[in-house]
């Protein structure tokens, strides 16, 4: 048992984690943020992807205590109040979700990419989401939506 203090989507939070507890359990069951999804629980599907100090990690394989004193961003942290993130808008406009289970992980992985490289190629987008499994869309609408979001964000920056 140990106390974990972290900044979750810009808010200071704290919880007590069991030894060996994962960041995914901490987020979903102790801090009430169920937006990272519990898919395979073995690091293969990417549905639990969150940002740890801006870097994408699989929350199901990350020990909760490693998040102590660090910044965690889940898909809930993407929107700015009622204003959706351009990635979320592009996913909606481009019908890039069907059942929606992979969507939080896809959005977080895509955000990590665009934060690092605001103008990625199609191949870079494919590379960035290659750890995220989707079983509905055939990926094409997701890749298209991420590229569209990059274009829109470039347009806003002028």
């Amino acid at each position: 048992m140990r106390a974990v203090r972290l900044e979750l989507n810009g808010v200071e939070v704290a919880a007590v984690a069991e030894g060996g507890e994962t960041l995914l359990t901490l987020l979903r069951e102790r801090l009430g943020d169920t937006s990272p999804k519990a898919g395979c629980l073995q690091g293969t599907c990417g549905a639990c992807t969150v940002l740890l100090d801006g870097e994408p990690v699989l929350a199901c394989l990350t020990l909760a205590e490693l998040a102590d004193g660090r910044r965690v961003t889940t898909v809930r942290g993407l929107a700015d109040g009622p204003r959706l993130h351009p990635l979320q808008e592009a996913f909606m406009d481009g019908f890039a979700a069907q059942c929606g289970f992979c969507t939080p992980g896809m959005l977080v992985a895509a955000k990590a990419l665009l934060d690092r490289d605001p103008n990625p190629t199609r191949e870079q987008v494919i590379e960035a989401i290659s750890g995220n499994v989707c079983r509905c869309t055939g990926y094409t609408p997701i890749v298209d939506a991420i590229l569209e979001a990059a274009r829109r964000m470039a347009g806003r920056r002028g």
Partner: protein, 334 residues
């Protein structure tokens, strides 16, 4: 040793729903006191758009704005009966039930409105924007919200409707054993282009081009979305998915969803799809269904393209590099 290109064609005629026990679906539609409508269904939305499409169908039939319709698929224990989301049947079966329920609810709505406006219900129409009005005299009108309130608090009426869809029974001909298993078929034709590496046995799908005849496309974006996702599933069936062991024995078989191979985002080819609309006579506003057929034509089209490329007939899915190399060896007489 070289890479060979090939092109293959496949056609599919796909039955919508089934005929066992009439393949029934039922729906209930009712108005709340504020004049919104709720469609109760047990048909499940698993991402294919069941809720969006039935919402559209109810709004269209009732003649109210789509924002005023809510679809509740919360509980198949307590909801009206549905056989389920399978056999490409949802839009067709549940859709027909929703239309029937909405028609009955609309009749009550017009009856109550007619009493309030002191006119004959046959002279009334909905303007599609939330008002019931006298045909040819739109200034004589009452809002749907007000009709609902009068029904609830003054007239003691329930603005509601029941919808049932049951396929007419088809008897088996005792002489020939023939029967009519379904009432409508959707159709598609697909061309696959592949590249086969005769050294590694690997198949790369370069493109899929298809035309789908699906009755009326009730929601074109959802149709396209399902056809593109289905094309990916078809590639997966054709080239990747199997629970059988990898070479050489069962101990090397997939043990989890990571090892159960399916194509990743980098394995997806461009998919070009044309939608042809020939409304089905018994479909909801002419719609058929596209659920399962979107994943089927890539399999034979890819098999035929492999034959065109390297001259071997693949008859067992998935068409793995090992099977292709063995077939090439057999062809060369090794």
């Amino acid at each position: 040793m070289a890479k060979h290109r090939g092109r293959g064609v496949a056609s599919v005629n796909y039955p919508i729903g089934m005929n066992l026990g009439g393949d029934p679906s039922q729906a209930l539609v009712h108005a709340t006191p504020t004049g919104k409508f709720v469609v109760a269904l047990s048909s499940i939305d698993l991402g294919q758009g069941m809720k969006s499409v039935t919402r559209q169908l109810a709004a269209e039939t009732l003649g109210v704005p789509i924002e005023d319709v809510f679809v509740d698929t919360a509980d198949s224990d307590t909801g009206p009966h549905c056989m389920g989301s399978f056999a490409s049947r949802g839009t067709h079966r549940a859709g027909n039930a929703v239309i029937a329920a909405a028609k009955e609810a609309k009749e009550v709505l017009l009856e109550v409105a007619a009493e309030e406006l002191e006119v004959d219900p046959k002279d009334l129409e909905l303007d599609g924007r939330g008002k019931v009005q006298v045909k040819g005299a739109p200034s004589r009108a009452i809002s749907v919200r007000e009709v609902a309130q009068r029904a609830h608090f003054k007239r003691g009426r329930s603005i509601s409707g029941r919808g049932m869809f049951l396929v007419p029974p088809s008897d088996v001909d005792p002489e020939t054993g023939e029967m009519n298993p379904v009432t409508t078929y959707a159709h598609a034709c697909m061309v696959a282009e592949v590249e086969v590496d005769d050294e590694t046995g690997e198949v790369t799908v370069l493109s899929l081009k298809a035309a789908y005849e699906i009755g009326r496309a009730l929601n074109v974006k959802l149709v396209e979305q399902q056809l593109v996702g289905g094309a990916w599933m078809g590639i997966s069936h054709a080239l990747y998915e199997t629970a059988e062991p990898y070479y050489p024995d069962r101990a090397h078989g997939p043990t989890d969803f990571n090892e159960y191979l399916m194509p990743g985002p980098g394995d997806m080819c461009p998919v070009e799809i044309e939608i042809l609309e020939r409304p089905a006579l018994d479909g909801p506003y002419g719609a058929k269904g596209i659920g399962e057929m979107c994943a089927t034509p890539p399999i034979p089209a890819i098999a035929n393209a492999i034959f065109d490329a390297v001259g071997v007939r693949m008859t067992e899915m998935p068409f793995t590099p090992e099977k292709i190399l063995r077939a090439l060896d057999a062809k060369r007489g090794r």
